[in-house]
Symmetry: C2
Subunit: 341 residues, 2 copies
């Protein structure tokens, strides 16, 4: 069933059918009615492939991300707001998830290109030379999310991982903690693995607190990895740190679970602070003190930015930083007035 069939059945030319479909020009009311009835009758839908081929525009944005499941993850909120913005502007989303198989990124980028998406939103993780090459020659505009990469002239929106991590650590220090551990992310992940670690170290430095490597482990974002990292720290030293900064709420939850399982009280014996403010965090036992980043704003900003570029508007600023906020709940204890044992 195509436009030709509809034309025949309504006894008009295909141009006229096209006109009623797109409201692109005047069509006499009677004819319009006639055509519309046939369309409804036949359950006809125009073929976007043909339309987009001829218009050289798909009204589709490719969104590339790297996460296990779209679950509670911090991404899902951003993606929802991206979806909203794009939908409001008549764009569709083509979602691709590498699930941490970063090599697949290029494969998806190719598919995007073949499918002729009008632009791409890229939740970055690692950034390699190959990324550089590919992005440099990419035929449509890209907006990067979550990772700063100044070599390339593509705009990006990030949250200030360094400052936020420093703030989290400072909070721990304010509360009297001096023995502080960290459960970090993979160092290939610049934002989470590197910047948050740097922020942590900076806070320690400025307060003249030495970093104890026995207190420092790395996870892969999963709940289990947080659990395992905490276990390693426990095994590393007979005396646990009084506080842990987990660079991800999920890892924080994994860590707390380990502690509770071992009969170690949180926050009475060990305080834990997270990062992300994922949905469950407020409902966890104990409710998690963490860094809340405005994921909705990030998605909104990135999508809007891309749309502007697509509209040919000049985008002068290339760097956008979303705000964060420390949300204090119950997983960190103030030990300033603790009687020394």
């Amino acid at each position: 069933m195509n436009i030709k069939d509809i034309a025949k059945l309504s006894d008009v030319s295909i141009s006229t059918v096209s006109r009623v479909i797109n409201n692109s020009a005047k069509v006499s009311p009677e004819v319009r009615k006639r055509v519309e009835i046939v369309i409804k009758e036949m359950n006809y839908r125009p073929n976007s492939l043909a339309r987009e081929l001829q218009q050289k525009k798909t009204n589709t944005i490719g969104v590339l991300m790297s996460a296990e499941g779209l679950d509670l993850s911090s991404l899902s909120e951003s993606i929802n707001s991206i979806a909203d913005v794009l939908k409001d502007n008549g764009f569709n989303i083509m979602l691709a998830n590498t699930r941490f198989h970063h090599d697949q990124e290029f494969e998806f980028l190719n598919i995007f290109q073949e499918k002729r998406v009008d632009g791409v939103l890229y939740f970055a993780s690692t950034f390699t030379d190959k990324h550089y090459d590919v992005f440099k020659n990419y035929p449509v505009p890209i907006v990067m999310i979550g990772q700063q990469y100044e070599l390339l002239d593509i705009p990006y929106v990030i949250h200030d991982d360094f400052s936020a991590a420093r703030a989290a650590t400072n909070f721990l220090i304010e509360k009297g903690h001096k023995e502080i551990g960290i459960i970090g992310g993979p160092i290939e992940d610049e934002a989470v693995g590197v910047q948050r670690l740097r922020g942590f170290e900076a806070a320690l430095n400025i307060h003249n607190i030495a970093k104890n490597d026995d207190y420092c482990e790395i996870g892969d974002f999963s709940l289990t990895s947080g659990y395992e990292a905490m276990k390693k720290i426990h095994l590393n030293c007979k005396l646990l740190p009084t506080a842990i900064f987990a660079v991800t709420d999920f890892m924080a939850i994994g860590a707390i679970r380990y502690l509770v399982e071992k009969g170690i009280k949180v926050p009475e014996q060990v305080s834990v602070i997270g990062f992300d403010d994922v949905g469950v965090s407020a409902f966890y036992n104990p409710p998690l003190t963490t860094i809340h980043s405005d994921k909705k704003a990030i998605g909104h900003l990135a999508a809007t930015l891309l749309l502007q570029i697509l509209n040919g508007q000049e985008v002068t600023t290339k760097k956008f930083i979303a705000s964060y906020e420390l949300v204090v709940r119950e997983s960190v204890l103030d030990i300033n007035n603790r009687i020394k044992s």
Copy 2:
């Protein structure tokens, strides 16, 4: 940059270029090399729109679901396995999420049709007459997930919500509970809202336990709604039930959080059992006893089924039921030997 340009630059005809792209026929090694170099050089990718238009096949499956970020997590596992199956068979996914705006389903179904997806995987929630009409006339095969609807001749894969809910409730009863409440789902959701409730009631019935309406509230799947439902139950009666069945892990978590916040011990004072076995459940405090349904299997099954239909294989069975399993953790207390107070 199109096939014609490549042809010109490599000094061959477009058919030859097409042949090297698709390996569809013999091409002399020298010519092939020549063309391949130009392709690489020009960073050329074939236009799928044109290709799919002419082949009348997009190798794309539309996946329609209805979840808000949070809830996605029970879906996300299924979706991952769907993605795997489809990818292995050369299919792409087009994901659409109504986020509980069920009216948008039809809009997306239309888009799928316009984009000429080869088939659709439909995570059903509510099923109305309009669905009936639309599905009846839908031009490509549909496989339904999570909801049984026999009027239509479309295959579906579900988990046995009724039996699983009954099993969960029976477990509570076995452990000596007689005062049992439920936090249910919206009744428009046949599987979660109705079937799980029916299973609950069936278990009560067979053990001659009366259902106490003060113990029964309904949530909307969110953590908050679980919290609020538990609060209502608390307000309804001076004496809390000894156990609660929440038809969703997230609502169970919300409920537990409410109880803990009020100083009510879980499971010592109130036991809670969930449904879904979402990622965090094992790491919650206390670890959540729940029904684990094989979401991966569901996704795998549904995708495979659709592929079979697409391949013209006769599918005789229309109904597939995935297995479930009760996973016992620490949120339910055995009160059989409790000293009566």
